[in-house]
Subunit: 431 residues, 2 copies
Amino acid sequence: MQDIFVKDIAQYLGQEVRLKGWVRNIRSSGKLLFIIFRDGSAEIQAVAFKPEMGEQAFEEAKRLTLESSVILTGVPQKHQKKTGEYELSVSSVQVLQIAENYPISKKEHGPDFLLSHRHLWLRSTKQWALLRIRHTVYYAICEYLNDHGFFRFDSPILTPNACEGTTTLFELEYFDEGKAYLSQSGQLYLETGIMSLGRVYDFGPVFRAERSKTRKHLTEFWMMDAEAAYVEHTENMDIQENLIRHVIRTVLAKCDKELDILERDKSALQAADAPFKRMTHYEAVEHLRSKGSEIGHNDDLGAADETLITEGSQVPIFIEKWPKQIKAFYMKRDPDDDNLVLGSDLIAPEGFGEIIGGSQREDDYDQLLSRMQAENMDLEAYQWFLDLRKYGSVPHSGFGIGLERLITWMSGVHHIRETIPFPRMIYRIYP
Amino acid sequence: MQDIFVKDIAQYLGQEVRLKGWVRNIRSSGKLLFIIFRDGSAEIQAVAFKPEMGEQAFEEAKRLTLESSVILTGVPQKHQKKTGEYELSVSSVQVLQIAENYPISKKEHGPDFLLSHRHLWLRSTKQWALLRIRHTVYYAICEYLNDHGFFRFDSPILTPNACEGTTTLFELEYFDEGKAYLSQSGQLYLETGIMSLGRVYDFGPVFRAERSKTRKHLTEFWMMDAEAAYVEHTENMDIQENLIRHVIRTVLAKCDKELDILERDKSALQAADAPFKRMTHYEAVEHLRSKGSEIGHNDDLGAADETLITEGSQVPIFIEKWPKQIKAFYMKRDPDDDNLVLGSDLIAPEGFGEIIGGSQREDDYDQLLSRMQAENMDLEAYQWFLDLRKYGSVPHSGFGIGLERLITWMSGVHHIRETIPFPRMIYRIYP
């Protein structure tokens, strides 16, 4: 007899198989016992019939509780009512463990209760669907980059200095070397990688010790930073657009069931897979002001502005050419206007906000040095970064995607905390 | 005219193309100028001929120095002497930046000099090859797991407690929640994931604040932890063996040129792709003692023992069934001998040492509790972990691969520090 996964059940119709997993739900009705069974790969309804199983085995099976572990033997059949679905006609039930009274029920639990029971909450159907979408989004990103000449180049987490300011850094003692900081972004390190491999990316955890309590903030989250030599501002946006459209198509193709579980409006994702809009920061501000926002021409967009700007747009919008004083020191000046930099933010539709930040980088040694001096940066600590402009500097660009924000958009969930297995927030480090 | 990458050169023979990159080396001989040109994807020899280029352009091109950035226009042709190789017949040279006197030359530099210049050292041919092998090994692991029902499940880095002891942990202040620690392993968290997804893995950075100065230690390194429900000890080793053999085959198939650059003995890797040997810890100790080791039956294997045990073996060796007192609290006891646990270490041949540690996990609540009590662990901090044995506990197993140790073996390099872009060691956190 074969041990199989539920996902493969259609290949074994009429053959006796064995399934190993857990009880999602159970109810009995006279001589029938209905077990909603899951094994991690999928769910199936298993039906036990007393006269076939025998009284003793049937009564034993009736003891099963929510989340009990169990091995079922039976014959897969087409579901009698639902086309495209299957059920298992059970011949025997091997109980591994009768679970204690399971703390998570169908009733509404508060977020604090669920987060404190995150190790169990992960088993619920929606969380299962989110974890699978996370996997799919992660590899859709890697796949696009690997197919387009990018190589993985893991930036360090422990760094001697800060990428952008120091107020939001976690710090620790590093042996006898003094303080070290957890990386907020691998971007600067990636710029060394392009000089070796041409195009590189990292994709790992980054950290922000920010006292933000919004539904879009985590203190530990996953970031993909990509960087490419000889790519300039417009091509940089082209790469981002093609990458995001690849992710949308992959999620729609591979996660149909998961999106149904999450009640995600798939037509909105389908509509987003079309040419993205592009507007300058100046145009965006004009547009926002015409819609009632009080944003000024040297202001960053707030969350409300991000929602307003994409109102009525089915596709994401690039906002490019930002005032230099509100963007990072490493962005390249716009050759047409010295007050602007060649940066772009990509804003998702449906109010999901910014999902990518990118820019062409300053490749001129003197320009970069004066920007760093103006920001009072420790030049000695960044000597290695300045070196890149001395030994064969080239035009180059890059961008960073916050994985959890992208998953939030793909899945349509309200709060970012559900998009990562164990969210870390200002008041949350357990479990 | 088309912008292309050097790796694609064979498709453009006889057509004028443009290449963007750097000067690896340059020499002139009368009316000829030979530029070893690289663009990250590959290298090519470019040949400029003064009568064709014109005197002024030729003299301009002669100014190029090591690592200068340059755009070459020319026509790819078959190399006149080397079959299977190509060269570029240059028609024009656009100099972007003449690099300053490049600090890394052909002469021998000490390791400290190279590590302090890691941001430039990465460009050298051997480091380029190692970075590409790292990429290949990383995705070979992911590919095997994704094809065998495992889902990515990113364990947290910031944790409230220690996985195995606390003496080798980096600690930091986590807002008002007290101390947090950088994860040494995501394994315990993965055990929550199998209860949702069946089979899971993480693959990210982990940290050990260990004052070790050997050539096999980093303080920050990448670890893949895998965990599978309903998999027991022997199948756990089968999965590891198939995974490692898949990695060997992938590296041989995709990194032929890189292995040549590193002068790796490919026949040794080919020979390792055969059934692995398995012996118990008891047998291993007997064998080591017969060869002169003074190891005792309750001792861990030292580095010298690991080299000795694989002497004469072309394949890796599993050492299984260890004395429980030298292995972690979460390993399941051997049902045949209560003094042993169902753990296994996989030792690479050629003296490359341990590359995987794995075990079946203790799934019985009372047994696990007593092991944790015996080790004076903080039970409240691990309540979530104990919960997994209350709500549908199942037999399960897992293992962890140190990415850099595996790359060290695949590439044959002597020191682990070259297998990661920016190595972190006890005296090294810059750049």
